[in-house]
């Protein structure tokens, strides 16, 4: 029933704006959270941020894409919702040792994620956060899942409508994570290693320097930084 409501809302609001972003905004309003973001995933290291309602959600998506840990990553891995009512609890820090302090520093006090499911496939996750502590009741989790399945419908519609050969679109290469993938390619040559090891080296370097991975990646692209064999 709620899915119908979502569809009606989509119809009413559907005027050229990014429909996935609209869904995220509706989820924020209706679930009393501070922000929402959505990523499509294809296993570890391969995520794409599709939408985020605010800067913090944007950073949360990036962090998880880059760190490979967090509620979204877990929701995709398990296929089940993740509800963290209080980010300050010690077991949360143990669960996501790098993500947790980074998210808390952004002002995240509670964090939730529901998977985007297509049959057996896990296509990604819808991430929600709140600037104050507190969980979601079962009904709210269900409602979040309705938004997630509405987003799946939209994504699949877009996929069905998109021409097969649009990989030529150079503008796709401008997003934040593209910079990291490009830098990974450069580091592959610098260290003479595979993509996974190069990505890990880049991530380790960012962690050691206490800097965002995208900044470090940009330095590599601008030739201000070269990784050496010692970092492998």
């Amino acid at each position: 029933m709620r899915e119908h409501r979502v569809r009606d809302l989509m119809h009413a609001a559907g005027t050229g704006e990014d429909p996935v972003l609209q869904l995220c905004t509706m989820a924020v309003d209706s679930l009393f959270v501070s922000g929402a973001g959505l990523s499509v995933s294809n296993g570890p290291g391969e995520h794409r941020k599709v939408a985020a309602t605010d800067d913090v959600s944007d950073r949360i998506e990036d962090l998880q894409v880059l760190l490979g840990q967090g509620p979204c990553v877990d929701a995709v891995r398990s296929g089940a919702p993740v509800v963290v009512a209080d980010m300050d609890r010690p077991d949360v820090g143990e669960r996501w040792p790098i993500f947790t302090p980074a998210a808390v520093a952004l002002g995240v006090r509670a964090s939730f994620a529901v998977p985007l499911l297509v049959g057996e496939l896990r296509l990604g996750a819808l991430d929600l956060y709140r600037g104050s502590t507190g969980g979601l009741v079962d009904e709210q989790v269900e409602e979040a899942q309705d938004y997630a399945s509405a987003a799946v419908n939209v994504l699949l519609e877009i996929q069905a409508a998109s021409p097969a050969g649009d990989e030529d679109d150079v503008t796709l290469g401008r997003s934040g994570s593209s910079v990291v993938y490009q830098a990974t390619g450069m580091v592959m040559v610098q260290l003479d290693t595979g993509a996974e090891a190069a990505f890990a080296a880049l991530r380790a370097r960012a962690y050691r320097d206490g800097r965002p991975l995208q900044e470090v990646a940009r330095d590599v692209l601008e030739r201000r930084l070269r990784l050496t064999a010692a970092e492998r």
């Binding site: 294809n42 391969e46 297509v118 496939l121 699949l156 996929q159 990989e167 990974t184 390619g185």
Partner: protein
């Protein structure tokens, strides 16, 4: 017309019917085999309705009708015969999306389906009813029911048969819909994967040849076009070091 009144067997049949619908609905929930499902449906028709044999035809993705299930080998052959000779109630029903029947194949229907009529009577059937597997404007197949005796199927049986056909239709369309969704979801993930690999390949080429990533992309794209290869395949080979692209020849010299 005993089917239209509640006879002594009616209570037992109602229970049977309820069980049949539950069973059919159950198979819709779990991932199920369409042919198995249709086979069960053909069996239910014979068990529950005043018909002696039943068969189902289903259009394939190209819209061509094929025999999908039947309650007996005899009916399967009869339905194949319909398809081969391109005539018969099932075909008419599928083409029109409406019920097609003959109350007496030995009398009067010799002109409608001359070959099917004689083949069906030779197999021992006198009457036939074909109901469409249809949802709104979409007809995906037909349910064929044969009787040894002449005369129309009772109205209760007829509406029950249509109800069974409707359950089957919804099940099949649901299954097709979910298959399509999974295909689209995989395409979406593949597109994501090739995006990642293309970005990595840009970096590999940029580092190797001392280019900007945009130049690296141009180089890779022109190579893909000149070789009529997919960009993502070229990128794949660059990243796995199976392809080493050469530095671009400058068309204009810096001094020109």
């Amino acid at each position: 017309m005993s089917d239209d009144t509640l006879g002594p067997a009616a209570a037992g049949r109602e229970q049977h019917l309820a069980d049949a619908f539950v069973e059919l609905a159950d198979t819709l929930v779990a991932d199920y085999d369409v042919l198995e499902f249709l086979h069960a449906l053909a069996g239910h028709c014979v068990d529950l309705l005043d018909v002696d044999a039943a068969g189902l035809m289903l259009a394939d993705r190209g819209g061509v009708l094929r025999v999908a299930a039947s309650s007996s080998e005899q009916v399967r052959l009869l339905e194949l015969y319909e398809l081969q000779n391109e005539e018969g109630p099932c075909l008419d029903c599928f083409a029109s999306g409406a019920a097609v029947s003959s109350d007496d194949l030995e009398d009067g229907d010799g002109t409608r389906w001359p070959r099917f009529g004689s083949e069906a009577t030779a197999a021992g059937f006198r009457s036939v009813l074909a109901l469409p597997l249809r949802l709104r404007s979409e007809t995906i197949g037909a349910l064929n029911m044969f009787r040894i005796g002449a005369g129309p199927l009772g109205t209760v049986d007829r509406s029950l048969a249509q109800a069974l056909a409707d359950v089957a239709t919804i099940g099949i369309l649901q299954e097709r819909g979910s298959q399509r969704r999974e295909v689209l979801a995989r395409q979406l993930q593949d597109a994501l994967s090739s995006r990642v690999v293309i970005e990595q390949a840009k970096g590999v080429i940029a580092e190797r040849l001392g280019l900007h990533v945009d130049e690296a992309f141009d180089l890779m794209r022109s190579y893909a076009r000149s070789q009529s290869e997919k960009l993502s395949d070229v990128a794949d080979r660059v990243v796995s070091r199976k392809l080493d692209l050469k530095a671009p020849r400058r068309t204009k010299s810096p001094r020109a």
